[in-house]
Amino acid sequence: MGQSTARTEKESSVEELKNRREWWFVAEKTRSKRLDYLRKGVWKKGAIGGNYAPGIKIDLTFPQLFIDKWQEHEGEAIMLQKAHALAHVLDNIPIFITDNSQIMGYIGSAPHNIVWHWQGISMVNEEIYNEEGIIPEPEEESLEILANLNDYWGGRTAVDKLARVLDPEDAVKFMSGAIGWGTPTSAATYSTKDFDYIFKGFEAILAEVEERMEETEEKLQGNPSPEILPLYDKLPRWEAMQIVLEAGIRYAERYARLARTLAEHFESDPERREELLRIAETCERVPAKPPRNLQESLQFDHFVQVLSRYETFEGAWPHRPDYIHGPYYDKDVNQDKRLSKEEALDLVGEHLIRTHEVGIFAPKWAREGLQGITGTWVWTMGGVKPDGSDACNDMTVAYMQAARLVRVSNPTFGFRWHPKVKDEVMRECFECIRHGLGYPSMRNDPVLVANTVHWYGHPVEEARTWVHQACMSPCPTTKYGCQPMRMASATANCAKMIEYALHDGYDPVVNMQMGPKTGDPREFKDFEDLFGAWVKQMEWLRNILVRTVNLGRVKDPEFFGRPFLSAIYERAVETGTDACDPSNGDRGNAWVTGFTWVENADSLAAIKKFVYDEKKYTMDEVLDALNANWVGYEEMRLDFVKNAPKWGNDDDYVDDLMVRCLREVSRHSKENRCPSNNTWPLLPENVSGNIHYANLVGALPNGRRLGDALYDGGISPGPGLDKKGPTAVLKSCGKFDHVTDGRAFLLNQRLSPTQLSGEKGYQLWKAYMKTWADLGLDHVQFNMVDDATLRAAQKDPEKYQEVIVRVAGYSAHFVDISRKTQDNIIQRTVQGLG
């Protein structure tokens, strides 16, 4: 049935398809044959709800190659041991060149494989063993291999090692999974990369390493003094960097060799033969030497991304590709006219596809929280140059156009809006949103630059280079601004703050005394007592996460080790340190990701109004109702849902409480210090943690029951609870300061597609965005698919395979997410037709 429909779609004209807003079919009809082939060739790597798609298998070649050399080098410095093992993988892992493709590099030995990073947490390794469907055939043999690998790595992974040095109470509470996410290791991480440095080429970096080593060896001839002693540890680190950089060059050469072999012995089509020779030349050139044209710069970039993902699970993709590749595009397309716009678009489109196809095994909690995708790969577009002038270029436009042609759910874009952005670029952003991609999300550049300066003291010129470190948090891409490791492992399930304040710190869901004992709420004499308890629970929750992640960060060079990342980090190359070593000049870019945050303001407001101001209910009644999960208290629950003030309605009663909570957190953020002695601001956002935590957060005074989805996140009002429309939502969100009251604040808006059709739609959106900027908000993202389409997609998923929705911080194909999340998205208030 799906197929017969598809045939009719194909018979329709592009104009008709546009009128029906069937954007996937529009894309299919308007993109090049090459992009069409490559796009349809991608294996879906994100999980569907909780499971991987049929045909996706875990790559067992990679860990087996790795362990061969790893065990051979047992006892050497960890970075060196790892470098040997990685080099062995890069020299021997099967590689492949897909028909029609021009950009090389994949993590794993076949396109349908996802890689497994086994050095992070052995619990995750066990999870893979238990997982259905992803074990390669023959299953029995693979299970044997897996069991042996797991037996070896059990107790030897980064988190296993960390758990032994953590305070045991902290370890148990952290790993209860109730108070937040976190993998305090760079084994599951993400890192900003400075391409100004990297594009010097690996050979240039190798020369620099060589120079440093010689210099150091000279010094080591002196008497072993406290100044000289640390130098002994530096040499093996530099050696490790050399090994991986050289292996990276050889890895590229393997592609060059294969491309030449294909051109000479296999390919009969002269055009493709040309392409293969160009691929060979490209891979011989980069990453060894600096790129000279667009294909080389994209290829260099992708090799770096692939190599870092052989080293570790990089769950995000901090990047600013329009800025990095713009000059090469300009040279090839505008100046030398070596490439036509269409040819350039093919390369750009493939860059998106090559990124989209990367698959890394994620544990269940991450799959639930990031439904339908591999990681939060938010690429940064637009923005300003270090001197403050507009940085948008033709590549910005090319990426937006390519995104509409290939329609991948990952990577997505975050656009750095500023007052000098040209109308033509704004229109490109709008077209992507109108085509229902859910991206770019819009970021307020002046606000975020100020914010980056405020929290970490980056110089303003450096702050202006920022990219999204993950979904939301800006990080400079400079020598001392680059962030090597995911400090956001401090991810708080914030709804627990109010839950614990109401339960004397006890967590009935996991049957454990978690937070401090802040007293029986029945004894509280006024709202201030309750608020005081909330503050204590908030501080406790942040403290335990922050100190765990801080310890993980300090210990990472000892427990994990990053030879490749260190080799592309200028400050690590210069000092012979691990990139993650906080002592090498890192200014810090830590933040606590705040899941399920808004429930606090709504719950506090409900109690303040009903218990303390109006005395409509006693605290006893409220606690009884909560302990009963509202069962038997339905009338009362509805009263709390409907009649208590709710965030997002431009209502000062609750909005003031939100501001007050944020200010308490901000105060505390300055007391929490990261290993680079910088602050830990809060960043409210949810990805799809609101679904993951549904069964971990008990009943709350906003009327929520255990098991109900939490709010969809950041500072978005509860679904259906913003009764006054989008202007009121923006007004509420504008009541606090997006520079000093936190790190960044995620806001979802669903707008009606009919409202935004035509030129009038653009004018409306532009006026809306202008006001959004005036109000000083730092973020907003849009869902533009109507309810009818989403409901139809639930009924007939086959026909709607390609409908993309914005989940929260990222986009996903609607059919890939669980029913519960789907319902939650439909429930998000559609901002009306006016």
Binding site: G49, M123, N130
Partner: protein
């Protein structure tokens, strides 16, 4: 017992199976009556390799022997595994398996140790 010592036993229980050679056999063994099939057992949300907490019993309880001991007071719940033998536990209460194809999230009773538990679907 110091605070650290008290929590150490919980931490050790949590990390216990790591670093031990288990092979295929230990991993594949799922007793007919086991924690993973009990409604009192709550799968840990940090990982999904089959670790969980008991909603009733506290740390210090001992259920996988002929003469179980039950501790009902304390700060931390008993940490156990989906394939821990629960045939002697008097708090065992068999749960309904709801989500059988694994595409649904956040089902409180969702068995995450999917492959091994699958044989109990029938």
């Amino acid at each position: 017992m110091s605070r650290r010592d008290k929590w150490k036993s919980a931490r050790d229980a949590m990390m216990a199976p790591l670093g031990k050679t288990k092979g295929v056999k230990t991993r594949e063994s799922v007793p007919e009556v086991c924690c993973g099939k009990c409604e009192m057992w709550f799968e840990n949300a940090y990982s999904s390799e089959g670790r969980g907490t008991c909603r009733v019993l506290k740390m210090g309880s001992e259920i996988h022997s002929d003469k179980p001991t039950y501790v009902l007071e304390g700060d931390a719940g008993l940490i156990s595994y989906f394939n821990m033998d629960a045939s002697h536990c008097s708090y065992f209460s068999k749960m309904e398996l709801i989500d059988t194809d694994g595409t649904e999230c956040s089902d409180p009773l969702f068995r995450r140790a999917l492959r091994q538990m699958k044989k109990f679907n029938e």
